[in-house]
Every structure is written in C-alpha cells, then in structure tokens.
C-alpha cells in the first residue's frame, strides 16, 4: 500500500486519453484544439517536472517525517474514516495552496506555467511546475502529518487529487449532471479557472470538491454568453520551455533589483502589483471590467 503511486499508475491512461482526444477532435467528434508547439511545451513541462521535484524531494520527505514524529494522534492507514478524513482535509489544503498560488506573486511564479497555454486540453493538465519544491508550498501539507496522518497516506491522497484533476482539463465535456457540478470540480468549473476573461479571474481554486469555492466565495459558474479565453492576462509570446518555466521568477527578481525598497511588495504582493500602480492586478482588472459593464448597462427608466 505504501508504494501505491496513483500518478505513476495513471500515466498510461494519460497517454491513451490524449491520443483519444486528438483523434476524436480530428474526426470532428469532440471539441478540442491542439497546436503542436503548445503541446510540446505542455508535455515537456510534465516530463521534467518529476525530475525537478527530485531536487527538493529529500527536504520534503525529511520535513514530513520529522513533523510526523511529533504527531498529535495515531491515525491508522487501514481505517475507512481516516481515508474519508484525509480526503476532505487534503482537498481543503489544496484549495488554500491553489488560492495562495494565484494571489501572491512568489507562489504564482511557481504555478503560472500551468496557466501559460492558450489551449485547454488534456495536455494542458500535464503542464506542471518545475519550481514548486523551491516555492515551498509543500509545507502547507505538514499539518496533516502533525495531526497524525502517515506520510504515505498524504502522498497517496495528493496523487489521487492530481489524477482527478487531469480529466477536467478538457473542452470535450461540456457539463456533468447537475448534482455532480454542485459538489465536484468539473471540466466546466475548471475551464473558468483557466480563463483570462476579467469576469473569470481568481475563481474556482478547487481540487476535487468545488464546495470549498462555494464556501469561501470564489465560485464562478461558466456562462454560455461568455466563452472562456485561455491563458494568462499577459500571454507568453514564446514557446521556449525555459522561459515558460522561469519567466515569472526572472521578472520578479528584475523588479526587486530595480526597486529594492519595494521588494516585499514585488515578492509577496498580488501578481501584477507595482509600487506606482502602473500595472494591473486581477483586482484592478475586475474592477475596470465591472465599471465597463455598469456603463454599458441600460439605465433604468425614470419612475420604475
């Protein structure tokens, strides 16, 4: 059980389903767009993300084991209630990890590459970070070990979450049944998360359960009248995989060197934050969009 690796087991499924999505799109049976260089970058990022993770794996494992040694409770890996509990707690942890990764530049620098494709297909799911270990977000899962969940259990549940999130990166599935859309993260919800339309920014951070977004006020349904435009606010004008992996880190470092007095803002502010307000953040973009909507809306008739 301790050697169970959901991501490794699912890899053949990833390959087969990408082939299926491409072939069905080619035959006109499914909605999907693939651009060869974009696909190469997505799959290349996925291919080397595991290798990049090895650089910090020792630190992550050692930290988790150390925290587990000081655990509060004994949680058996064989108990069903323990799996139910870790399912919920890991998914809640993922929500906050994901939200932090979007709302603070230091962690956005590690996560942004997942959003750099202007496409939304199964290969996009594999456009994984190379610098997540360096960003240190793995520390957010340490409280689970402190509670007493065995490290192997945490790793397995993280793997299950990652595999779950693979299939939702598609335009081929429009909507799931209503009850499913209400509870789970779905292709429709996650399309919104990958969209760069101002209305859709900073929403739907869920991993498996969409209930966290509903609970914490970040849920945004996909609207038929506003199709998703994918990518980042400032799309990349390159397919250079090194630029894709490191551009935000380099941009952040350049900002800190140029404006050392405002270093904290450039590192821990929202993505797009600037000391003179000359750049846009998701907050300013959304505010401008709301103003534009209000101006465009017809004025109510007098007396009504």
């Amino acid at each position: 059980m301790k050697d169970f690796n959901p991501v490794q087991l699912a890899t053949p499924i990833f390959i087969v389903t990408i082939i299926l999505e491409i072939v069905l799109a080619r035959l006109g049976k499914a909605k999907a767009n693939y651009e060869a260089r974009d696909t190469a970058v997505s799959l290349g990022m996925g291919l080397f993300s595991g290798a990049a993770g090895l650089l910090t794996a020792g630190l992550v494992v050692a930290s988790t084991l150390w925290v587990y040694e000081h655990r509060l409770f004994e949680i058996p890996m064989t108990a069903i209630w323990a799996w139910a509990a870790i399912f919920l707690l890991e998914d809640l942890t993922y929500y906050w990890f994901h939200r932090l990764s979007h709302e603070r530049r230091f962690w956005w620098a590690a996560h942004v590459n997942h959003h750099t494709s202007q496409h939304y297909n199964l290969s996009t799911a594999l456009r994984q970070t190379w610098t997540g270990g360096v960003a240190g977000t793995w520390a957010l899962w340490l409280p689970l070990a402190f509670l007493g969940f065995p490290p192997a259990m945490i790793a397995i549940q993280k793997g299950i979450s990652l595999v779950y999130q693979y299939w939702i990166h598609t335009e081929a599935i429009r909507r799931m049944p209503k009850w499913f859309e209400a509870v789970f993260n779905t292709p429709s919800h996650h399309r919104v998360h990958h969209a760069r339309n101002p209305r859709y920014l900073d929403s739907n951070y869920a991993g498996i359960l969409i209930i966290w977004d509903r609970l914490f006020g970040t849920f945004q349904p996909e609207l038929d009248e506003e199709p998703c435009r994918y990518g980042t606010v400032k799309n990349l004008a390159t397919f250079n995989i090194l630029r894709v992996a490191f551009h935000e880190w380099i941009g952040m470092a350049a900002d800190v060197v140029r404006h050392p007095r405002h270093a904290l803002g450039y590192i821990f502010g929202r993505p797009g934050w600037s000391h003179d307000g000359s750049r846009d953040t998701s907050v300013t973009l959304k505010a401008a969009w709301r103003q534009q909507q209000a101006r465009a809306a017809p004025e109510p008739e007098a007396g009504t």
């Binding site: 291919l47 202007q118 551009h247 941009g251």
Partner: protein
C-alpha cells in the same frame, strides 16, 4: 540515477514525441486567418479594454498589428494559433529597427522578448514625432 528511472524517462520522452507528432498530424489547431483591420481592432480592444486606438497598422502578412494609443504603442503578435499583446512607449516603437519590410520590436519582457511585424514602411512619416 537509477536504471529504472532512466528507462522510465526514456519511455516517457518517446511517448511525448509520439503525442506531439500526432498533434501536428491532426491539424486541429484553432483556425486563425490573417488579421484584418476589424479583427486587429477587436483583439486590441480585448487586450487593452477602454483604450483608444489613434491608429492601427496591420502586418502585411496578417500575423500581427501595431497601434498607437496616446503615448503608448500597443503591439499584437501571433504565437502559434493565438496572439500575445504588450504595450511599450510609442517612442520605443518608432525607433525599432526596420529592415527588409520587417519591424523588430524589443518588448523588454522575458515572456515576450521580441515582436516582428511585417510592414510596408516604418516609421510612419506623419506620426513619427
């Protein structure tokens, strides 16, 4: 590195090559025809909402566009089957190098280093000031 890991990496690399080849073969990229003035204006408005467009120059091959908006130049360039946009000071756009009908604009951005736009001439005589 252990042998099993290297074998796994080699197999994954082969699979990635096959998938990229399949994606190229399928020709299912987004249909993106050459830009015309209306489409360029529409994209620029999407990228820079609320900004006035004083004048727009569309690339002769339809793969990009350049607009003047006050003191700024709004640059639109094709990336695969999509577009990327950046803004730079107008003076910087005017002084960009122009050779053999191609304007090479340094965007000074690590994620969008350079935009190349085909134009009949540059800078425009009436707006070069």
């Amino acid at each position: 590195m252990d042998k099993a890991y290297l074998i796994q990496l080699a197999a994954s690399t082969a699979a990635v090559s096959v998938l990229v080849g399949l994606a190229a073969w399928a020709k299912i990229a987004r249909p993106v025809g050459p830009l015309n003035l209306a489409r360029a204006q529409e994209l620029l408005s999407e990228e820079f909402p609320g900004r006035s467009l004083d004048q727009v120059w569309v690339a002769t091959d339809g793969a990009g566009a350049l607009a003047r908006s006050g003191g700024m130049a709004l640059v639109l360039c094709r990336v695969g089957d999509g577009f990327a946009a950046r803004q730079i000071p107008w003076a910087q756009a005017v002084s960009s190098s122009f050779r053999n009908g191609r304007l090479r604009i340094d965007l000074s951005d690590i994620s969008a280093p350079v935009a190349t736009i085909s134009l009949p001439s540059w800078p425009p005589k009436d707006l070069a000031a």
